[in-house]
């Protein structure tokens, strides 16, 4: 091919291609947005349905075809839900268990991660490897014996039984230790020179420097308490100690048939609301914690 011919071809092709390119680009971007918005609508639909259903009257709820916006917002459903499921007690119990277990768990995790990250002792590597190995075992395997243990200890039906067995999380220890290890050794030596004790160094330097990780752990732990179902049902399903998820399931045993769905949905919305608020305000920490974990709660 001679040079002049090539030049001509390129000139024509380039002009044509760039016009075509612009169109394909716009089309494909439009396609992408369409797909994403459709998926987003599907993802959001259950939330939408929950909220509008919770505001309908029972009569309106049974209408076919259904209404997509309540004709008259019936906020009394929420009051009904609150009393039907005695949500007040459930909220209180869950907050107590969540706060206490998060607090204690944080302290234990900080101490343990500190020892593994900073202190020297015999068998450190071996012990840490053993800890990590336990992460592979499904929790159900522990639950069986722990159920027997707490029954023998006679602590079923207390806050203790809801808190103590899950205070140590190997995963959180691992997460925090990794964070601690990133803090340069010189800071520790500098603190020694500045006359700081190990304990003070831990609280004044390492903990502030690991704050994002600690916040992630706190949120995940609180969410865990909020969503826990199996263990509480097994060991503390009495009205005084029942947690929110069990309470919800207990109050509305029927899921199918002619149930009073508006009230049920109001209860569901009330249970979901705190999680939603936490998510709105602390999304960054949840997402960073989750992307490193892969564990729910």
């Amino acid at each position: 091919m001679s040079q002049s011919v090539m030049k001509v071809m390129q000139g024509r092709d380039l002009r044509k291609t760039s016009a075509r390119q612009k169109i394909t680009h716009i089309l494909s971007q439009a396609g992408i947005y369409l797909f994403l918005l459709l998926m987003a609508a599907i993802v959001l639909f259950p939330f939408y349905w929950m909220i509008i259903s919770s505001l309908k009257s029972l009569v309106e709820y049974r209408l076919s075809p259904p209404t997509f916006w309540p004709m008259q917002a019936l906020f009394s459903n929420y009051a009904d839900a609150f009393t039907t499921a005695s949500l007040g007690v459930l909220f209180k119990n869950t907050m107590i268990v969540g706060l206490v277990s998060t607090l204690l768990s944080l302290v234990i995790t900080i101490f343990t991660a500190f020892a593994f990250a900073r202190l020297q002792f015999k068998g450190k590597e071996l012990l840490f490897a053993a800890l990590l190995a336990t992460m592979m075992i499904p929790g159900e395997l522990f639950t069986i014996t722990n159920y027997a243990t707490v029954t023998h200890l006679n602590i079923t039906g207390t806050y203790t039984v809801l808190i103590v067995p899950f205070l140590v999380s190997v995963f959180y220890i691992y997460l925090l230790r990794q964070n601690f290890l990133q803090i340069p050794n010189e800071l520790y030596l500098a603190a020694k020179v500045d006359g700081t004790s190990d304990m003070k160094y831990l609280w004044k330097v390492m903990v502030p420097l690991s704050l994002p990780t600690l916040i992630s752990i706190t949120i995940l732990k609180m969410m865990g308490a909020w969503n826990s179902y199996i263990w509480p049902r097994l060991v503390a399903n009495d009205p005084e100690h029942r947690l929110i998820t069990n309470g919800l399931r207990n109050a509305f045993t029927d899921t199918t048939g002619d149930v009073n769905y508006p009230v049920q949905m109001a209860a569901v919305a009330l249970v979901s609301l705190p999680l939603f608020l936490v998510f709105v305000f602390l999304r960054k920490y949840i997402m960073s914690g989750v992307s490193r974990s892969g564990i729910k709660g």
């Binding site: 998926m39 343990t112 002792f121 395997l141």
Partner: protein, 314 residues
């Protein structure tokens, strides 16, 4: 650097964790394995259980021969095998699409993460409501007052309504509802991980592909997927592990009866079965079932790792 001769200090820091781990992690491992081999053992003498036992593999035999177990195993495998590929592919497409846009990216990302921060029982109840039919279903001449929103949408497009979860509903319909919920629930985590992986891919590969005028689809299958393969392997493995431990989603939709009214327990899973054994005060059988579950998870994970080793590209 610093020679700490104070070994005891380290152990002091570790002591709370170690004590708790010994009681609630180490002992359970030993005890559960032991109990699995103790036949007719309840372990709960205090509440009237039988403590006499002999060693053997009877628990395993009973568990495996149990029809409920077989049903639970089929359910669990089925929901894993169907839900994991669907949710992974959907998550991949959404992640790639999210990665390709600029305006609204953050907002959409937030929306797609929303299902993660939910209570699986609570939202399970919402799904049940969406699929529920109000009226006399399952009778010869059903009298329906509301078909439920999902059926309404199907009818709007000219389809026939389906009895999804009510009395008389078929197993496949139950499974469909459950898998829909599980996929919906599994998307956020997978999107998060895959999107994280996508942002980590060096832009130069895409620029090189552009220079070579590679079509979009080829870029996805030949560049993105291979480079994303470690994350894909990760979400598939965690997806399977999560799938095998599925339990609360079913409780959310079907209640503790683990199935529609006419077929209680028909949607039960491995984990559900373990808790049933516990509730019926049979620790030995529960332990055996837990060990079998552990074994299955281990094998599936190893297979996954083996497959991904062949296909993960670096």
């Amino acid at each position: 650097m610093v020679e700490s001769k104070q070994q005891w200090k380290a152990w002091l820091y570790l002591s709370p964790a170690i004590v708790l781990l010994l009681i609630f992690t180490v002992w359970p491992i030993i005890n559960t394995v032991a109990m699995a081999f103790m036949e007719d053992y309840s372990g709960l003498a205090k509440i009237g259980g039988d403590t006499a036992f002999r060693f053997g593999i009877g628990n395993f035999a009973k568990v495996v021969q149990n029809a409920d177990f077989q049903q639970a195993l089929i359910n669990t495998v089925l929901l894993c095998v169907i839900s994991v590929p669907i949710s992974t592919i959907l998550a991949l497409l959404i992640a790639v699409a999210l990665h390709a846009i600029k305006p609204l990216q953050k907002a959409l990302q937030t929306i797609f993460f929303l299902p993660y921060v939910t209570n699986s029982i609570a939202i399970g109840m919402v799904f049940a409501a969406m699929f529920n039919v109000i009226g006399s279903v399952g009778t010869r001449r059903p009298l329906i007052s509301s078909y439920g929103i999902v059926n309404d949408i199907i009818r709007f497009f000219g389809g026939n309504w389906v009895n999804w979860i009510n009395s008389g509903s078929e197993h496949w319909a139950n499974m469909f509802v459950l898998i829909t919920y599980i996929v919906w629930n599994a998307l956020p985590f997978k999107i998060l991980i895959l999107l994280g992986g996508l942002t980590g891919i060096n832009k130069q590969y895409y620029e090189a592909a552009k220079v070579d005028s590679t079509p979009r689809w080829r870029v996805l299958t030949r560049i993105t997927v291979p480079l994303l393969s470690p994350m894909l392997a990760y979400v598939v493995i965690t997806g399977f592990i999560g799938g095998f431990k599925e339990y609360t989603s079913i409780v959310g939709i079907f209640g503790e009866s683990m199935g529609p009214v006419h077929a209680k327990g028909s949607m039960n899973t491995m984990v559900g079965l373990i808790y049933d054994s516990l509730a019926s005060n049979n620790q030995g059988r529960a332990s055996a079932a837990a060990l079998i579950l552990f074994g299955i998870i281990l094998v599936v994970t190893l297979i996954n790792l083996w497959v991904s080793k062949k296909h993960v590209h670096y």
